[in-house]
């Protein structure tokens, strides 16, 4: 038998495959950068690059969580509303704390702590309803999406919840200050991205997510606690939303019914642009990061030039997204075609 069998056969030549697949979104991003630079050289100015990175942190962090949910075959539509809700409650709590004991670092840390707890709780609710009550993730999270959005409107009485000025001053640097010339939000983003990447590619949890998304039966027969892992993906998503909120609140110091509208769509789009499959079973945190950068860069590029009518922003955005994904898929079409068999 000419079987090259064991040693080579078993070598899935990780490097090679990774390269091709990361290359897709990366190429799209590079083309976009070239486009941006050619429209306006200031696109690559330090200030602008920093802006893009900082901005993409919100969607990026949320999208890292979404990568897990989607990889495990789920979906979470509630993230945008959840962000608004967590931001709102966090502000209420901090304002209350300021009233009770004055503004201090402790107040802010207390708010951050509450935010994390809320995120975990909200994620758990989505996970629980999906796995235990056996309701489709789409419906569960559509429901919680409405609920959180309503609650924040209710808490704000139709208006805006604003962080008390003195707490704001203490909290403000979390968004606006830098370390080694890189703003804190970007650090958080980098941190979340690395943790996410490790979790997905170097831990049993990530492997389980892929297995569940790929074939839930096989996962169950392979001694994977399917419900538990799925619930964890939603909790992780909640945690990511909470982290994004923690760096969002100091930016604008407020929350309202308009906070985080359509973030869910952006987050899911970042995930899919990054090469994760909507049907689950295949998750790529690295791609998600690039996807988030692509989306942010598109928005930024639209502000660089006046060539096209503002009314057409959405159209340009749409065309670029589709083209980016097409390029990306095209670049490893050959590989995919075979894979599709």
């Amino acid at each position: 038998m000419t079987t090259v069998s064991a040693p080579e056969a078993a070598k899935p030549s990780r490097g090679f495959r990774l390269d091709l697949k990361t290359a897709g979104p990366l190429i799209a991003l590079i083309l976009l950068v070239i486009l941006g630079y050619s429209l306006n050289p200031l696109f690559l100015g330090e200030g602008n690059v920093t802006n893009i990175l900082t901005r993409s942190a919100f969607i990026g962090i949320i999208a890292v969580g979404a990568t897990f949910v989607i990889t495990a075959g789920g979906i979470d539509l509630s993230v945008g509303s959840m962000a608004a809700f967590i931001a709102g409650v966090m502000i209420i709590i901090m304002n209350w704390a300021v009233d009770a004991m004055g503004a201090s670092l402790a107040t802010v840390l207390f708010g951050i702590g509450c935010s994390l707890i809320l995120g975990v709780g909200a994620g758990f609710i989505n996970g629980f309803l999906t796995t235990k009550a056996k309701i489709e993730a789409f419906i569960v999270t559509l429901g919680t999406m409405g609920i959180y959005r309503s609650l924040v409107t209710y808490f704000a009485d139709g208006g805006t919840l604003s962080l008390a000025g003195d707490a704001r001053d203490i909290y403000r640097p979390v968004y606006y200050d830098s370390f080694l010339r890189i703003p804190y939000p970007v650090w958080v983003f980098i941190f979340v991205a690395i943790i996410g990447w490790i979790l997905m590619n170097r831990t049993a949890f990530g492997r389980y997510c892929m297995a569940i998304g790929s074939n839930e039966h096989v996962a169950r027969y392979s001694a994977i606690k399917v419900d538990r892992v799925k619930t964890w993906t939603y909790i992780l998503q909640g945690l990511c939303v909470s982290l994004a909120t923690i760096i969002y609140v100091p930016r604008l110091g407020s929350a309202s019914a308009a906070t985080g509208v359509l973030w869910e769509l952006e987050a899911i789009a970042a995930v899919i642009i990054g090469g994760t499959m909507l049907k689950g079973g295949f998750g790529r945190v690295g791609g998600t990061i690039i996807g988030a950068l692509i989306l942010t860069a598109i928005g930024n590029i639209l502000n660089l030039t006046e060539i096209i009518s503002n009314y057409l922003n959405g159209a340009v955005q749409g065309v670029i997204i589709v083209a980016a994904v097409y390029l990306q898929r095209g670049s490893f079409r050959a590989g995919r075609k075979k894979a599709a068999e």
């Binding site: 919100f58 407020s254 639209l302």
Partner: protein
């Protein structure tokens, strides 16, 4: 004077009629002002939400390097700090419509008046209705300015004995206006007046009333100054006898003033509050712009 001057204009995207009108007026003003002042470049950017607008402001600074900013904040509080950041770069700031929480940031303030709009609507209601009459209210989207209008209106009719049967959100949207009004009509046999607060909603409301054949029972008060509605007022429509102006053209005023800051010699500062007058058949002509999309 030949130095190139860039003025950023940051406004919400044209997601509903009023904002559409505002976008149109901004675009028209841009063309007009750029033609008249070759050294001035106006850059209009539109945002889908507060955080998006904050990003737009950053971009105007970092890539467009603006000398002045005309901004209609999505929401007051969240955008106060981002506008302050623009101010800190030395730019001239004109705030439109929704005031920032810290008015010292702005050099010029141009605005409609949400409170006045609510009050004027209520005042008109009072002239037409008496104690015991019933009205329903269709609100916009739950946001600060909607709340401002609503609170002002409620304050002004307090004590008149006019009953507010119910209020519901119609999202500044015709379809929602139509459906909400349909439901009000099937719920309340006796309605004497409708405050629709926005002309998009008004259009839906009117259709619902016509469908129910109850045109003669009530009248509708909208707001903003949509051309179709103004036309109706001009023609003496009994169902929508008046409108309350909330001018989308205020953005053009703000742009004019800002450009004037660079072209005229004297300093330009202060507040330009455009009133929300009641538009009646008598004065409607003056508010009718048939070319505007709104």
């Amino acid at each position: 004077q030949d130095e190139k001057i860039t003025i950023g204009v940051s406004i919400p995207a044209a997601t509903h009629g009023f904002m559409g009108g505002l976008n149109w007026h901004a675009a028209e003003a841009e063309k007009r002002l750029e033609a008249a002042n070759p050294n001035i470049d106006l850059v209009i950017v539109t945002a889908d939400g507060p955080e998006d607008q904050a990003s737009d402001l950053e971009d105007l600074v970092s890539v467009q390097q603006i000398d002045a900013l005309v901004v209609l904040p999505f929401e007051s509080e969240p955008l106060t700090e981002p506008v302050r950041a623009v101010k800190d770069t030395g730019a001239f700031i004109t705030v439109v419509d929704r005031g920032l929480t810290d008015p010292t940031i702005q050099d010029v303030y141009v605005s409609g008046n949400n409170t006045e709009m609510g009050v004027n609507s209520a005042e008109y209601m009072k002239t037409r209705l008496k104690e015991g009459d019933n009205i329903v209210i269709l609100r916009g989207i739950p946001t600060v300015l909607d709340t401002e209008r609503f609170d002002a209106f409620m304050g002004a009719i307090e004590g008149t004995g006019i009953n507010v049967l119910d209020d519901e959100f119609a999202n500044w949207n015709r379809d929602d206006g139509f459906e909400v009004m349909q439901d009000f009509l099937s719920r309340f046999p006796d309605i004497d007046g409708v405050w629709a607060q926005d002309d998009d909603i008004t259009l839906g409301v009117v259709e619902a009333i016509k469908q129910a054949g109850r045109e003669s029972e009530m009248f509708v008060v909208g707001g903003a100054g949509m051309k179709e509605i103004i036309k109706g007022v001009m023609d003496g429509d009994a169902l929508v006898p008046v409108d309350v102006l909330y001018p989308p053209a205020q953005i053009a005023t703000a742009m004019d003033v800002t450009v004037a800051h660079f072209t005229s010699n004297g300093p330009v500062t202060g507040s330009y509050i455009l009133g929300s007058p009641l538009i009646t058949q008598e004065n409607a002509e003056a508010y009718y712009f048939p070319d505007s999309p709104f």
